[in-house]
């Protein structure tokens, strides 16, 4: 290809075009059409992966053109290893999410799928932007569709809950915008380019302020304790496709933002406040795990477990060492896959029994052995059993936190024990035991459900046994990132 950068542009444009097309299509074909578009996107993503040179730390597939010339705003996109991995995660999960919604009946399905694909464009934009302005625009472009997905197709009390989510996140991102404009005026060449941002040197005080501007946006998105209050309600009330998008991909935007736009841009701010962020992350782990214990609603339980997991990922990132960062990278992928699988299992059970409460369920394993096996595999991945994908990530993350501070790593390590307890207990209550009148006659998986769960289970095991392809994608880029940070901290 003469211009490899067009590949990244295609990755952003294809879902946009697909979204416009779907919004005009009527009828039942829309689900299949959405799947076809997302598979095409997957093909482009995989093609980019095959052409990707993992030994090169710089951004590849660069495309740079003027957008608003008078302000130095560029449409600049490209992928280094970190971006590549998250783009891969996005292009793999979106078709799975679309396929997993095949059994649902939605009013106005074309609007739903159009919004999902529009969001995908925003997500890819976030993960590939090399211009702060484009990053901000993509960030919001990913938020608006998910807001409408949750607000229109969500469950009980959705208007109030999703509005809280929306105002909360946009509040955070407005402060990020403030930070971006401020940094723009501090760049030597008045530009929004990432590389110019890396050259800004500010006083530690200014960096501390800016740290909070950015951190607020990212922490709300992830979410980190105490900015998480929107999350459990939103995850619970959102339609499952929306919950999957939120937890599987969107929360990674926050972590990615920290890695790309916070740590290397404001190293002095990180020196000052990184420890606080670390402690907040660890508090979140323990706090969310304890609450997860007491949840009766399975969807809510997984929502809280997600807070615990993301807390550990963020702690690994703020540890500022290779193990932590690389652990965060692979755990972002694993967590995305596992959490989508878990929410899908909950959705399957809900569709058949119309309940998500643990005390109503039981004995499903007798009626649906295939589902039970898949659920078991995904759950073992989520509780980080060796030879599953969750293990590699959690091990490296804890190793990273350990190198940072032993006490914190000990507390953070509780997540594995806690996680195992509440997840296994949920599994036991839902799947094992006596069949009751709610779960009697539970039909096992349909073909489309099998397809999704088998792919997810395969990923859980393959990544768990042989994580090297994933790790090697981001390795050089992560090392390079850490070098930049260290250099700028001096």
């Amino acid at each position: 290809m003469t211009q490899p950068g067009l590949l990244t542009v295609f990755l952003i444009l294809l879902p946009l075009v697909a979204s416009l097309t779907l919004s005009l299509v009527k009828g039942e074909q829309v689900k299949k059409l959405a799947l076809v578009f997302s598979l095409a996107e997957l093909a482009i993503g995989l093609f980019a992966w095959s052409k990707f040179d993992a030994a090169d730390a710089r951004a590849q597939f660069l495309y740079d053109t003027n957008w608003v010339a008078s302000l130095g705003i560029h449409f600049a996109v490209g992928m280094d290893g970190i971006s590549m991995l998250l783009v891969l995660l996005t292009v793999v999960l979106v078709p799975l999410i679309i396929l997993s919604s095949f059994k649902n009946e939605f009013k106005k399905p074309n609007a739903l799928y159009a919004l999902i694909l529009f969001m995908q464009a925003g997500l890819i934009g976030v993960f590939t932007s090399l211009d702060a302005f484009l990053f901000y625009v993509s960030w919001e472009a990913a938020l608006i569709p998910i807001y409408f997905i949750c607000a229109i197709w969500g469950g009980e009390d959705r208007i109030r809950i999703t509005f809280k989510f929306f105002v909360y996140t946009i509040f955070g991102s407005l402060f990020m915008l403030l930070g971006i404009i401020y940094l723009y005026f501090m760049t030597p060449d008045h530009s929004f380019s990432l590389l110019s941002f890396y050259q800004v040197s500010l006083s530690p005080t200014a960096q501390s302020w800016l740290f909070w501007c950015f951190f607020l946006a990212f922490a709300i998105k992830m979410p980190i304790f105490p900015f998480h209050t929107w999350q459990p309600d939103t995850y619970t009330t959102a339609p499952t496709a929306g919950t999957m998008l939120l937890s599987g991909i969107m929360l990674k935007m926050g972590i990615y933002g920290v890695m790309r736009w916070l740590l290397p841009v404001l190293p002095m701010g990180v020196l000052e406040w990184g420890n606080t962020a670390m402690i907040l992350s660890v508090i979140g782990i323990v706090y969310a795990s304890i609450i997860a214990f007491t949840q009766k609603d399975t969807k809510r339980l997984i929502a809280y477990s997600s807070i615990a997991h993301v807390g550990l990922i963020s702690a690994g990132v703020f540890a500022l060492n290779v193990q932590g960062m690389q652990g965060a990278m692979i755990q972002m992928v694993s967590h995305g896959i596992n959490v989508v699988g878990l929410f899908f299992v909950i959705e399957i059970i809900y569709q058949r029994t119309k309940t998500r409460e643990t005390f109503n369920l039981g004995g499903i394993a007798n009626e649906a052995p295939v589902l039970a096996t898949c659920f078991m595999i995904i759950m073992l991945g989520a509780v980080a059993l060796p030879l599953t994908n969750g293990f590699i990530g959690e091990f490296m993350l804890l190793n990273g936190v350990f190198n940072y501070n032993i006490l914190l790593s000990a507390i953070a390590g509780l997540t594995i024990i806690f996680g195992a307890v509440y997840m296994l207990r949920m599994y036991q209550k839902v799947m094992l035991g006596e069949v009751n009148n709610v779960t009697a006659g539970f039909t096992d998986l349909f073909a489309s459900e099998k397809a999704v769960l088998f792919i997810i289970c395969a990923l859980v095991i393959v990544i768990g046994v042989y994580p090297k392809p994933i790790l090697s994608v981001s390795e050089v880029a992560v090392n390079n990132l850490l070098e930049v940070i260290k250099l700028r901290m001096q």
């Binding site: 919001e140 608006i144 208007i159 509005f163 105002v167 401020y182």
Partner: protein
């Protein structure tokens, strides 16, 4: 200059047409006149011509704002078909008075001499006093007119007194001359300046001098409210900025603190009060106060980019407001109410209208990929480059509040259930104006480069 003449002649012709009962001709003639005046302004782009011994100077600044005012008026006039007929039998008055007001607005954006500023403001204001009270038998309208007129007359007094003092201090009405002689008699000059600041703040509806806005906006016919919140406000800010950059730019230390207090108050009162409104018209009235607050930031930041920021903000704000008020008029006609609840379920019955309203609300709220986002972006950028970061932090906080109340309407349209099958018929005029506004809003949101370098 030709623009002013054409607008005035059109207004007089329209009056005569009304006298001879040529109802059908009113709208076409007005639109033609406006198109002609817009075109002549456009032809003069790039030239800098002064008239009547420097009373009026038509430079790019004046031309850009003139075109914006004329285009907004055209859009509003297109919405007026069949609208004024419902209210009154003397339709010609409406067109004529609005055209006179527009002429006043054009004088305000092109003045070079304080007496022209005063005349422009008065032409505009007197027309608006009449428009506010035009529903003679309506109590709300009477209250609005009386309030507006009394307070407005009061502030005119401030303006005139201020002009007199500034003249006393500098010996000139010409804003260039005033700037040159600003330091000769500081006491007189500063008092005059402050009085003028108060008067201008009143005219554009900045807190703590905003009290007239909500009542007047609610009491007047909605289409006139649209005119007030777009044309009148834009003209007011253009004049405000021109006066304060050219004449009082060098003495910014005198008014800086006052204006920054005004900004904070305006943003706070406008946004927080708007968040509690359940009536859409009142919500837009309070939100227009908050927009005045954002624009005032650009005046405070006073730099090369201020003019551009205000122009971009005014364009985005005017276009989005016309769309928002247009949809609101339709909803009110069909459902008899302009409360937010009247919008319930609009997306189901009229998806296109709901989409346009959503675009308008997103633009007013400053969501990316709409023109309003770039409006705020430029204002914030200008302020940060002038080291008003703390002020921008407050503005950002208030923008979040803004998103809250603008999205209340979107939620009503998309998420709440309304009456089934209550479909609103939209005439071609409305279709054209609303689609035009929505498209321009998106276009400028994606390609702001089209207007960023005008001034």
């Amino acid at each position: 200059m030709t623009s002013i003449i054409i607008i005035t002649i059109t207004a007089i012709v329209v009056l005569y047409l009304g006298l001879y009962k040529a109802q059908k001709a009113l709208l076409p003639v007005s639109i033609l006149g406006l198109l002609a005046s817009g075109a002549t302004a456009f032809m003069a782009w790039g030239s800098e011509l002064s008239y009547f011994n420097d009373m009026i100077v038509f430079n790019n600044y004046a031309i850009a704002f003139t075109i914006l005012l004329v285009v907004t008026t055209i859009l509003i006039f297109l919405l007026s078909r069949d609208y004024f007929e419902h209210i009154s039998s003397n339709v010609a008055e409406y067109y004529a008075i609005l055209l006179f007001a527009l002429a006043g607005g054009v004088v305000m954006v092109s003045f070079q001499n304080l007496s022209m500023l005063f005349i422009g403001i008065e032409i505009l204001s007197v027309s608006m006093y009449i428009m506010a009270g035009i529903k003679r038998r309506n109590i709300a309208s009477n209250e609005a007119a009386l309030k507006y007129f009394l307070l407005g007359a009061f502030s005119t007094g401030f303006l005139l007194f201020g002009i007199a003092l500034v003249y006393g201090a500098t010996g000139s009405f010409n804003i260039d001359q005033i700037a040159a002689h600003a330091s000769e008699n500081p006491l007189l000059f500063n008092v005059g300046l402050t009085l003028m600041l108060i008067a201008m703040a009143f005219k554009v509806g900045v807190a703590p001098l905003h009290f007239w806005t909500p009542d007047v906006y609610q009491g007047t016919p909605t289409l006139v409210t649209t005119f007030m919140s777009t044309v009148v406000k834009t003209a007011g800010f253009a004049a405000f900025l021109r006066l304060f950059t050219v004449a009082f730019g060098a003495s910014s230390h005198v008014w800086m603190v006052t204006v920054s207090v005004m900004v904070v108050l305006t943003l706070f009162i406008g946004n927080v009060t708007a968040a509690f409104q359940s009536n859409q018209k009142r919500l837009l009235a309070y939100s227009s106060i908050s927009h005045a607050g954002y624009m005032l930031i650009a005046i405070l930041a006073l730099g090369g980019a201020s003019a551009n920021s205000i122009l971009i903000y005014s364009i985005a704000y005017s276009i989005a407001s016309v769309a928002a008020f247009g949809v609101m008029i339709l909803v009110k006609q069909q459902r008899g109410s302009d409360d937010i609840t009247a919008f319930n379920g609009l997306a189901k019955n009229n998806p296109a209208l709901a989409l346009i309203m959503t675009i308008a609300m997103c633009s007013l709220a400053g969501i990316p990929l709409t023109a309003g986002f770039f409006g705020k972006f430029f204002i914030f950028g200008t302020a940060i480059s002038a080291h008003y970061t703390w002020l921008v932090a407050i503005a950002v906080l208030m923008a979040a509040v803004g998103i809250y109340y603008y999205f209340k309407v979107i939620i009503a349209m998309y998420l709440r259930k309304g009456e089934e099958g209550n479909i609103i018929q939209v005439s071609t005029h409305y279709q054209f104006v609303l689609a035009f506004c929505a498209l321009v809003t998106i276009l400028l949101g994606v390609l702001p480069g089209l207007i960023t370098n005008l001034l």
